[in-house]
Symmetry: C2
Subunit: 204 residues, 2 copies
Protein backbone atom coordinates (compact mmCIF):
# COMPACT_ATOMS: atom_id res chain seq x y z
CA UNK A 1 0.00 0.00 0.00
CA UNK A 2 1.70 3.18 -1.13
CA UNK A 3 -0.51 5.64 0.70
CA UNK A 4 -0.27 5.58 4.46
CA UNK A 5 -3.00 7.27 6.41
CA UNK A 6 -1.24 9.92 8.43
CA UNK A 7 -4.16 11.81 9.94
CA UNK A 8 -3.66 11.78 13.68
CA UNK A 9 -4.03 14.37 16.42
CA UNK A 10 -6.27 16.49 14.26
CA UNK A 11 -9.52 17.98 15.43
CA UNK A 12 -12.17 17.61 12.77
CA UNK A 13 -14.42 20.60 12.49
CA UNK A 14 -18.20 20.56 12.26
CA UNK A 15 -19.59 20.75 8.76
CA UNK A 16 -18.47 19.66 5.37
CA UNK A 17 -15.50 20.21 3.09
CA UNK A 18 -16.10 23.33 1.01
CA UNK A 19 -16.06 23.56 -2.75
CA UNK A 20 -13.08 25.93 -2.48
CA UNK A 21 -11.14 23.26 -0.58
CA UNK A 22 -11.86 20.70 -3.30
CA UNK A 23 -10.88 23.17 -6.01
CA UNK A 24 -7.65 23.97 -4.19
CA UNK A 25 -6.84 20.25 -3.98
CA UNK A 26 -7.35 19.89 -7.74
CA UNK A 27 -5.94 23.31 -8.65
CA UNK A 28 -8.83 24.08 -10.96
CA UNK A 29 -12.37 25.39 -10.83
CA UNK A 30 -15.51 23.36 -11.28
CA UNK A 31 -17.37 24.27 -14.46
CA UNK A 32 -19.77 22.83 -17.00
CA UNK A 33 -18.66 22.94 -20.62
CA UNK A 34 -21.95 22.43 -22.43
CA UNK A 35 -21.57 21.41 -26.07
CA UNK A 36 -24.64 21.73 -28.25
CA UNK A 37 -25.10 21.09 -31.95
CA UNK A 38 -26.67 18.89 -34.60
CA UNK A 39 -26.00 15.18 -34.78
CA UNK A 40 -22.66 14.72 -36.62
CA UNK A 41 -21.58 18.29 -35.81
CA UNK A 42 -18.48 16.93 -34.11
CA UNK A 43 -19.42 17.38 -30.43
CA UNK A 44 -18.13 14.04 -29.20
CA UNK A 45 -14.90 14.15 -31.18
CA UNK A 46 -14.11 17.62 -29.84
CA UNK A 47 -15.14 16.61 -26.30
CA UNK A 48 -12.79 13.61 -26.39
CA UNK A 49 -9.83 15.68 -27.57
CA UNK A 50 -10.57 18.39 -25.00
CA UNK A 51 -10.68 15.71 -22.30
CA UNK A 52 -7.25 14.46 -23.40
CA UNK A 53 -5.79 17.97 -23.49
CA UNK A 54 -7.10 18.65 -19.97
CA UNK A 55 -5.64 15.39 -18.69
CA UNK A 56 -2.33 16.37 -20.23
CA UNK A 57 -2.52 19.58 -18.15
CA UNK A 58 -3.25 17.41 -15.10
CA UNK A 59 -6.78 18.73 -14.88
CA UNK A 60 -9.65 16.53 -13.76
CA UNK A 61 -12.40 16.45 -16.37
CA UNK A 62 -15.34 14.13 -16.90
CA UNK A 63 -17.43 13.69 -19.99
CA UNK A 64 -21.19 13.16 -19.82
CA UNK A 65 -22.70 11.80 -23.01
CA UNK A 66 -25.37 9.53 -24.37
CA UNK A 67 -23.48 6.39 -23.40
CA UNK A 68 -23.16 7.06 -19.70
CA UNK A 69 -26.31 9.12 -19.14
CA UNK A 70 -29.05 8.30 -21.64
CA UNK A 71 -28.65 4.56 -21.08
CA UNK A 72 -28.22 4.76 -17.31
CA UNK A 73 -29.54 7.64 -15.23
CA UNK A 74 -32.03 8.62 -17.92
CA UNK A 75 -32.95 5.20 -19.25
CA UNK A 76 -36.54 5.72 -18.05
CA UNK A 77 -36.98 8.69 -20.40
CA UNK A 78 -38.21 8.68 -24.00
CA UNK A 79 -38.15 11.32 -26.69
CA UNK A 80 -41.36 13.28 -26.07
CA UNK A 81 -40.85 17.02 -25.59
CA UNK A 82 -41.47 16.49 -21.86
CA UNK A 83 -38.96 13.66 -21.60
CA UNK A 84 -36.38 15.57 -23.64
CA UNK A 85 -36.73 18.47 -21.22
CA UNK A 86 -36.37 16.14 -18.21
CA UNK A 87 -33.36 14.51 -19.89
CA UNK A 88 -31.59 17.86 -20.19
CA UNK A 89 -32.70 18.94 -16.70
CA UNK A 90 -31.16 15.83 -15.11
CA UNK A 91 -27.95 16.20 -17.13
CA UNK A 92 -27.78 19.81 -15.94
CA UNK A 93 -28.24 18.73 -12.33
CA UNK A 94 -25.51 16.10 -12.63
CA UNK A 95 -23.17 18.61 -14.30
CA UNK A 96 -23.92 20.96 -11.40
CA UNK A 97 -22.90 18.28 -8.90
CA UNK A 98 -19.65 17.68 -10.82
CA UNK A 99 -18.95 21.42 -10.92
CA UNK A 100 -19.60 21.59 -7.17
CA UNK A 101 -17.18 18.69 -6.77
CA UNK A 102 -14.58 20.84 -8.55
CA UNK A 103 -14.58 18.81 -11.73
CA UNK A 104 -14.62 20.17 -15.30
CA UNK A 105 -17.77 18.50 -16.65
CA UNK A 106 -17.99 18.28 -20.44
CA UNK A 107 -21.47 17.48 -21.72
CA UNK A 108 -22.01 16.33 -25.26
CA UNK A 109 -25.69 16.24 -26.22
CA UNK A 110 -27.61 17.70 -29.16
CA UNK A 111 -29.74 19.62 -26.59
CA UNK A 112 -31.74 21.31 -29.36
CA UNK A 113 -34.01 23.65 -27.38
CA UNK A 114 -32.94 27.08 -26.12
CA UNK A 115 -35.41 26.86 -23.24
CA UNK A 116 -33.89 23.66 -21.84
CA UNK A 117 -30.31 24.88 -22.17
CA UNK A 118 -31.17 28.23 -20.59
CA UNK A 119 -32.82 26.43 -17.67
CA UNK A 120 -29.52 24.62 -17.03
CA UNK A 121 -27.64 27.92 -17.29
CA UNK A 122 -30.05 29.59 -14.84
CA UNK A 123 -29.52 26.74 -12.37
CA UNK A 124 -25.76 27.32 -12.31
CA UNK A 125 -23.76 30.26 -10.99
CA UNK A 126 -22.46 32.97 -13.34
CA UNK A 127 -19.41 31.68 -15.19
CA UNK A 128 -20.17 28.07 -14.30
CA UNK A 129 -21.93 27.35 -17.59
CA UNK A 130 -19.81 27.62 -20.71
CA UNK A 131 -22.02 27.02 -23.73
CA UNK A 132 -20.18 25.81 -26.80
CA UNK A 133 -22.12 25.96 -30.05
CA UNK A 134 -20.68 23.28 -32.30
CA UNK A 135 -21.92 24.74 -35.53
CA UNK A 136 -22.45 22.89 -38.78
CA UNK A 137 -24.93 23.36 -41.62
CA UNK A 138 -27.60 20.69 -41.96
CA UNK A 139 -26.22 19.97 -45.44
CA UNK A 140 -22.71 19.27 -44.14
CA UNK A 141 -24.02 17.21 -41.21
CA UNK A 142 -26.10 15.11 -43.59
CA UNK A 143 -23.12 14.62 -45.86
CA UNK A 144 -21.01 13.37 -42.93
CA UNK A 145 -23.76 11.18 -41.40
CA UNK A 146 -21.28 8.68 -39.84
CA UNK A 147 -24.02 6.60 -38.23
CA UNK A 148 -26.47 6.80 -41.13
CA UNK A 149 -29.03 8.52 -38.88
CA UNK A 150 -29.93 11.33 -41.26
CA UNK A 151 -30.53 8.78 -43.99
CA UNK A 152 -32.87 6.85 -41.71
CA UNK A 153 -34.64 10.04 -40.68
CA UNK A 154 -35.11 11.09 -44.31
CA UNK A 155 -36.51 7.63 -45.03
CA UNK A 156 -38.99 8.09 -42.18
CA UNK A 157 -37.42 5.31 -40.12
CA UNK A 158 -36.48 7.74 -37.33
CA UNK A 159 -39.13 10.13 -36.07
CA UNK A 160 -38.51 13.48 -34.37
CA UNK A 161 -34.92 13.65 -35.57
CA UNK A 162 -33.30 17.01 -34.89
CA UNK A 163 -32.78 18.98 -38.09
CA UNK A 164 -35.15 16.83 -40.13
CA UNK A 165 -38.54 16.76 -38.42
CA UNK A 166 -37.65 18.38 -35.10
CA UNK A 167 -36.08 21.84 -34.78
CA UNK A 168 -32.56 22.70 -33.69
CA UNK A 169 -32.54 26.08 -31.98
CA UNK A 170 -29.06 27.55 -32.29
CA UNK A 171 -27.69 29.43 -29.26
CA UNK A 172 -27.60 33.21 -29.55
CA UNK A 173 -25.36 33.88 -26.58
CA UNK A 174 -22.98 30.92 -26.53
CA UNK A 175 -19.64 31.63 -24.85
CA UNK A 176 -17.87 29.83 -27.69
CA UNK A 177 -18.94 29.26 -31.30
CA UNK A 178 -17.04 26.78 -33.42
CA UNK A 179 -17.74 26.34 -37.11
CA UNK A 180 -16.74 22.74 -37.72
CA UNK A 181 -16.89 23.19 -41.46
CA UNK A 182 -13.85 25.45 -41.07
CA UNK A 183 -12.10 24.47 -37.81
CA UNK A 184 -10.82 20.88 -37.40
CA UNK A 185 -11.60 19.04 -34.12
CA UNK A 186 -8.18 19.62 -32.57
CA UNK A 187 -8.37 23.36 -33.22
CA UNK A 188 -11.87 23.41 -31.77
CA UNK A 189 -10.74 21.65 -28.59
CA UNK A 190 -7.80 24.05 -28.29
CA UNK A 191 -10.19 27.00 -28.63
CA UNK A 192 -12.18 25.71 -25.63
CA UNK A 193 -8.99 24.95 -23.67
CA UNK A 194 -7.78 28.51 -24.29
CA UNK A 195 -11.11 29.88 -23.09
CA UNK A 196 -10.84 27.85 -19.88
CA UNK A 197 -7.26 28.93 -19.33
CA UNK A 198 -7.94 32.63 -19.92
CA UNK A 199 -11.05 32.40 -17.73
CA UNK A 200 -8.97 31.15 -14.81
CA UNK A 201 -10.66 27.75 -14.67
CA UNK A 202 -7.37 25.84 -14.81
CA UNK A 203 -6.11 27.18 -11.52
CA UNK A 204 -7.59 27.68 -8.04
Amino acid sequence: MATEVKATNITWHEGSVSRAEREKLLNQKGVTVWMTGLSASGKSTIACILEQMLLHEKKHAYRLDGDNVRHELNKNLGFSAEDRAENIRRIGEVAKLFADAGVIAITSFISPYVKDRDAVRANLKAGEFVEVYVKVSLEAAEKRDPKGLYKKARAGQLKGFTGIDDPYEAPEKAEIVIDTEVVPPEGAARQILDYLEKGGYLTA
Copy 2:
Protein backbone atom coordinates in the same frame (compact mmCIF):
# COMPACT_ATOMS: atom_id res chain seq x y z
CA MET B 1 -2.64 33.00 -14.87
CA ALA B 2 -0.58 30.41 -13.06
CA THR B 3 -1.25 27.52 -15.39
CA GLU B 4 0.12 27.83 -18.86
CA VAL B 5 -1.24 25.52 -21.48
CA LYS B 6 1.77 23.64 -22.73
CA ALA B 7 0.18 21.02 -24.95
CA THR B 8 1.79 21.37 -28.33
CA ASN B 9 3.10 18.91 -30.89
CA ILE B 10 1.02 16.14 -29.43
CA THR B 11 -1.09 13.81 -31.48
CA TRP B 12 -4.42 13.26 -29.83
CA HIS B 13 -5.65 9.73 -30.14
CA GLU B 14 -9.14 8.65 -31.09
CA GLY B 15 -11.44 7.87 -28.21
CA SER B 16 -11.84 9.09 -24.70
CA VAL B 17 -9.73 9.34 -21.58
CA SER B 18 -9.99 6.10 -19.62
CA ARG B 19 -11.06 5.70 -16.05
CA ALA B 20 -7.60 4.33 -15.25
CA GLU B 21 -6.04 7.56 -16.56
CA ARG B 22 -8.30 9.65 -14.33
CA GLU B 23 -7.54 7.45 -11.34
CA LYS B 24 -3.82 7.73 -12.00
CA LEU B 25 -4.13 11.54 -12.13
CA LEU B 26 -5.89 11.54 -8.75
CA ASN B 27 -3.88 8.65 -7.29
CA GLN B 28 -6.98 6.94 -5.97
CA LYS B 29 -9.74 4.64 -7.14
CA GLY B 30 -13.32 5.64 -7.79
CA VAL B 31 -15.73 4.07 -5.33
CA THR B 32 -19.12 4.60 -3.76
CA VAL B 33 -19.22 4.63 0.03
CA TRP B 34 -22.91 4.06 0.68
CA MET B 35 -24.01 4.95 4.20
CA THR B 36 -27.38 3.62 5.30
CA GLY B 37 -29.15 3.91 8.64
CA LEU B 38 -32.05 5.40 10.53
CA SER B 39 -32.60 9.13 10.74
CA ALA B 40 -30.32 10.45 13.53
CA SER B 41 -28.04 7.42 13.26
CA GLY B 42 -25.11 9.74 12.57
CA LYS B 43 -24.65 9.20 8.82
CA SER B 44 -24.10 12.85 7.90
CA THR B 45 -21.77 13.60 10.81
CA ILE B 46 -19.62 10.58 9.95
CA ALA B 47 -19.72 11.41 6.22
CA CYS B 48 -18.51 14.97 6.89
CA ILE B 49 -15.62 13.82 9.05
CA LEU B 50 -14.66 11.14 6.50
CA GLU B 51 -14.71 13.81 3.79
CA GLN B 52 -12.34 15.96 5.84
CA MET B 53 -10.01 13.04 6.56
CA LEU B 54 -9.88 12.18 2.86
CA LEU B 55 -9.13 15.80 1.93
CA HIS B 56 -6.34 15.75 4.49
CA GLU B 57 -4.91 12.74 2.62
CA LYS B 58 -5.24 14.74 -0.61
CA LYS B 59 -7.98 12.46 -1.87
CA HIS B 60 -10.86 13.75 -3.94
CA ALA B 61 -14.18 12.90 -2.34
CA TYR B 62 -17.68 14.22 -2.88
CA ARG B 63 -20.66 13.84 -0.62
CA LEU B 64 -24.16 13.24 -1.99
CA ASP B 65 -26.93 13.93 0.49
CA GLY B 66 -30.45 15.26 0.83
CA ASP B 67 -29.37 18.86 0.35
CA ASN B 68 -27.69 18.50 -3.02
CA VAL B 69 -29.76 15.62 -4.45
CA ARG B 70 -33.28 15.47 -2.99
CA HIS B 71 -33.84 19.20 -3.59
CA GLU B 72 -32.19 19.31 -7.00
CA LEU B 73 -31.88 16.27 -9.27
CA ASN B 74 -34.67 14.46 -7.43
CA LYS B 75 -36.93 17.39 -6.65
CA ASN B 76 -39.64 15.89 -8.87
CA LEU B 77 -39.90 12.80 -6.64
CA GLY B 78 -42.13 12.28 -3.62
CA PHE B 79 -42.16 9.63 -0.92
CA SER B 80 -44.27 6.84 -2.40
CA ALA B 81 -42.56 3.45 -2.53
CA GLU B 82 -42.11 3.95 -6.29
CA ASP B 83 -40.59 7.41 -5.89
CA ARG B 84 -38.35 6.25 -3.06
CA ALA B 85 -37.04 3.49 -5.32
CA GLU B 86 -36.46 5.97 -8.17
CA ASN B 87 -34.74 8.33 -5.71
CA ILE B 88 -32.26 5.64 -4.70
CA ARG B 89 -31.84 4.48 -8.31
CA ARG B 90 -30.86 7.97 -9.48
CA ILE B 91 -28.51 8.47 -6.54
CA GLY B 92 -26.91 5.14 -7.42
CA GLU B 93 -26.49 6.21 -11.05
CA VAL B 94 -24.91 9.51 -10.03
CA ALA B 95 -22.60 7.73 -7.59
CA LYS B 96 -21.65 5.41 -10.45
CA LEU B 97 -20.74 8.39 -12.63
CA PHE B 98 -18.59 9.83 -9.83
CA ALA B 99 -16.89 6.48 -9.31
CA ASP B 100 -16.25 6.32 -13.06
CA ALA B 101 -14.79 9.81 -12.83
CA GLY B 102 -12.35 8.44 -10.23
CA VAL B 103 -13.98 10.23 -7.29
CA ILE B 104 -14.73 8.74 -3.88
CA ALA B 105 -18.49 9.34 -3.66
CA ILE B 106 -19.95 9.29 -0.15
CA THR B 107 -23.72 8.94 -0.07
CA SER B 108 -25.67 9.70 3.06
CA PHE B 109 -29.30 8.64 2.79
CA ILE B 110 -31.55 6.53 5.03
CA SER B 111 -32.07 4.21 2.01
CA PRO B 112 -34.25 1.86 4.08
CA TYR B 113 -34.97 -0.95 1.61
CA VAL B 114 -32.61 -3.85 0.92
CA LYS B 115 -33.99 -4.21 -2.59
CA ASP B 116 -33.13 -0.63 -3.59
CA ARG B 117 -29.63 -0.77 -2.10
CA ASP B 118 -28.93 -4.14 -3.69
CA ALA B 119 -30.01 -2.75 -7.07
CA VAL B 120 -27.37 -0.02 -6.72
CA ARG B 121 -24.80 -2.64 -5.72
CA ALA B 122 -25.69 -4.80 -8.72
CA ASN B 123 -25.29 -1.81 -11.03
CA LEU B 124 -21.69 -1.25 -9.88
CA LYS B 125 -18.62 -3.39 -10.37
CA ALA B 126 -17.40 -5.70 -7.60
CA GLY B 127 -15.61 -3.67 -4.95
CA GLU B 128 -17.06 -0.40 -6.19
CA PHE B 129 -19.92 -0.40 -3.67
CA VAL B 130 -18.90 -0.18 -0.03
CA GLU B 131 -22.02 -0.41 2.10
CA VAL B 132 -21.68 1.13 5.55
CA TYR B 133 -24.41 0.24 7.99
CA VAL B 134 -24.63 3.12 10.45
CA LYS B 135 -26.34 1.20 13.21
CA VAL B 136 -28.37 2.62 16.04
CA SER B 137 -31.37 1.30 17.97
CA LEU B 138 -34.67 3.03 17.32
CA GLU B 139 -34.75 3.95 21.00
CA ALA B 140 -31.38 5.72 20.85
CA ALA B 141 -32.24 7.47 17.56
CA GLU B 142 -35.50 8.72 19.06
CA LYS B 143 -33.68 9.97 22.12
CA ARG B 144 -31.21 11.92 19.93
CA ASP B 145 -33.87 13.29 17.54
CA PRO B 146 -31.89 16.48 16.73
CA LYS B 147 -34.47 17.73 14.23
CA GLY B 148 -37.54 16.67 16.22
CA LEU B 149 -38.61 14.39 13.36
CA TYR B 150 -39.35 11.31 15.47
CA LYS B 151 -41.50 13.43 17.76
CA LYS B 152 -43.46 14.69 14.76
CA ALA B 153 -43.78 11.16 13.36
CA ARG B 154 -45.04 9.84 16.72
CA ALA B 155 -47.55 12.68 16.78
CA GLY B 156 -48.74 11.65 13.31
CA GLN B 157 -47.53 14.87 11.71
CA LEU B 158 -45.07 12.97 9.50
CA LYS B 159 -46.34 9.96 7.57
CA GLY B 160 -44.26 7.06 6.33
CA PHE B 161 -41.35 7.90 8.61
CA THR B 162 -38.67 5.22 8.63
CA GLY B 163 -38.62 3.32 11.92
CA ILE B 164 -42.04 4.55 13.00
CA ASP B 165 -44.58 3.71 10.32
CA ASP B 166 -42.25 2.60 7.53
CA PRO B 167 -39.72 -0.21 7.89
CA TYR B 168 -35.94 0.06 8.01
CA GLU B 169 -34.38 -3.06 6.56
CA ALA B 170 -30.90 -3.45 8.02
CA PRO B 171 -28.15 -4.68 5.67
CA GLU B 172 -27.05 -8.26 6.15
CA LYS B 173 -23.89 -8.10 4.07
CA ALA B 174 -22.61 -4.57 4.64
CA GLU B 175 -18.86 -4.17 4.13
CA ILE B 176 -18.69 -2.05 7.30
CA VAL B 177 -20.97 -2.01 10.34
CA ILE B 178 -20.66 0.81 12.85
CA ASP B 179 -22.60 0.81 16.10
CA THR B 180 -22.95 4.52 16.80
CA GLU B 181 -24.13 3.85 20.34
CA VAL B 182 -20.60 2.63 21.04
CA VAL B 183 -18.29 4.24 18.46
CA PRO B 184 -18.08 8.06 18.31
CA PRO B 185 -18.29 9.76 14.85
CA GLU B 186 -14.55 10.30 14.49
CA GLY B 187 -13.80 6.65 15.24
CA ALA B 188 -16.48 5.64 12.76
CA ALA B 189 -14.99 7.82 10.02
CA ARG B 190 -11.53 6.42 10.76
CA GLN B 191 -12.91 2.88 10.49
CA ILE B 192 -14.14 3.67 6.96
CA LEU B 193 -10.88 5.43 6.06
CA ASP B 194 -8.92 2.37 7.21
CA TYR B 195 -11.14 0.13 5.08
CA LEU B 196 -10.49 2.31 2.03
CA GLU B 197 -6.77 2.36 2.68
CA LYS B 198 -6.49 -1.39 3.21
CA GLY B 199 -8.65 -2.00 0.16
CA GLY B 200 -6.24 -0.05 -2.03
CA TYR B 201 -8.73 2.72 -2.86
CA LEU B 202 -6.37 5.50 -1.79
CA THR B 203 -3.79 4.76 -4.44
CA ALA B 204 -3.88 4.04 -8.16
